[in-house]
Symmetry: C2
Subunit: 230 residues, 2 copies
């Protein structure tokens, strides 16, 4: 069979992996901050903050390309096996999830920009709560990935139910407004869209967390699956 | 430097790759068919079809796991370099996109199930058109991936603008209904949600197409990026 490591110094591989984790954490923090900024701009009714989010973030795009590039280099130079291989492929997937979170921050800011042009429908309490939970899920899912912490992942998965419940609650409440006053239809629609975008931020955190559980408990899970190459 | 292929017979690798492409095409076809079924069930007002989509599709889940598994085996056994490596990592990403498309079919069917319980708001013309374009984009993006056809990809990217335009048109029209008749608010909201889900199907097709352009024109693109490992 193959050697367990590639022809390069395994210590070098370990260092490269540590740097990769660091860049991934940085990317996650920036993507989460953008969601925070978009929801904050909505609550404060501050168009300048929202415009800043919509204008995009060159830094996130740069980090995304850097992470993909680092993953390819690690795969190509070290040709890692088993656990290390899964880890790097998982990083590529998580990188994709974080990129989408960055896009969702833009979607939230766009809906918020339309919303703040209208008279406020109601004081915003559940939406920022939903945003805070989704952001916390994302931060913890990435921390759990770096620390290989399956217990923290299960906690992230549990919180997704809270996000879904808040989304339903927000929907029902806004529906009442829309049915009783046509003037609230347009701004309410935008708040509903924001809640859907936040739900998807939670979904991406869930993706990351499920990936970590798979990674940490890979051997047990795979035993239950018939081999595909057979 | 490393050998260009792993220790296994490169012809064997080529065969494995062909099988992987075949399974990916199968997965793409099934995911697209589920979207088609969900939109068809909405247009026909057929709850039985919608329930079938919502009940899930074990086969797609099985294919998704099989594709991930095949990718890992190819990476681990053949330790491919350069183009082959990118190809397999791209397959893992596309597999993720197709899984989401399957989930979106469920989301569409759920909104449609609520919608068909109400009196129809209007004859559905733009929504099935939007669905047909999104499905065509997805099919072509996968065909372009297998054929490494960058021109077909650019055609897919162009069609995403049509999907976005239809989404805006549907939104504006339904807004008019909602503003004039509160009875249409709830069912209109569900149609708006369906249009957003279809937009996301188009986004996933766009992801796949952008990945193919990157894959086919990798060398030129990468030259413009400073090396991350430096």
């Amino acid at each position: 069979m193959e050697p367990l490591t590639g022809p390069h110094d395994p210590r070098h591989f370990g260092e490269d992996l540590a740097v990769l984790n660091q860049v991934l954490l940085e990317m996650a923090e920036k993507a989460t901050r953008r969601v925070e900024q978009a929801v904050g701009g909505l609550v404060a009714g501050d168009p300048a903050v929202l415009e800043e989010v919509i204008a995009g973030d060159e830094e996130i795009n740069r980090l995304q390309m850097e992470i993909d590039d680092r993953c390819f280099k690690l795969l190509a130079l070290h040709q890692p096996m088993a656990v290390d291989l899964r880890l790097i492929v998982a990083t590529v997937k998580i990188n994709g999830d974080l990129e989408r979170v960055g896009d969702l921050a833009v979607n939230i800011a766009e809906a918020a920009r339309r919303y703040v042009r209208h008279r406020p429908v109601k004081p915003l309490i559940d939406l920022p709560r939903m945003g805070a939970i989704a952001q916390g899920m994302l931060r913890d899912a990435i921390r759990a990935f770096v620390a290989k912490d399956a217990a923290l992942c299960r906690d992230v998965l549990r919180r997704d139910d809270e996000v879904d419940a808040l989304k339903d609650q927000i929907f029902r409440e806004l529906l009442t407004y829309m049915l009783s006053d046509p003037e609230t239809v347009e701004p309410s629609l935008d708040l509903i869209l924001v809640s859907r975008h936040l739900e998807r931020v939670g979904d991406h955190a869930t993706n990351v967390a499920e990936g970590v559980v798979f990674l940490v408990e890979a051997r047990d899970v795979r035993h239950q699956v018939p081999p595909a190459g057979a």
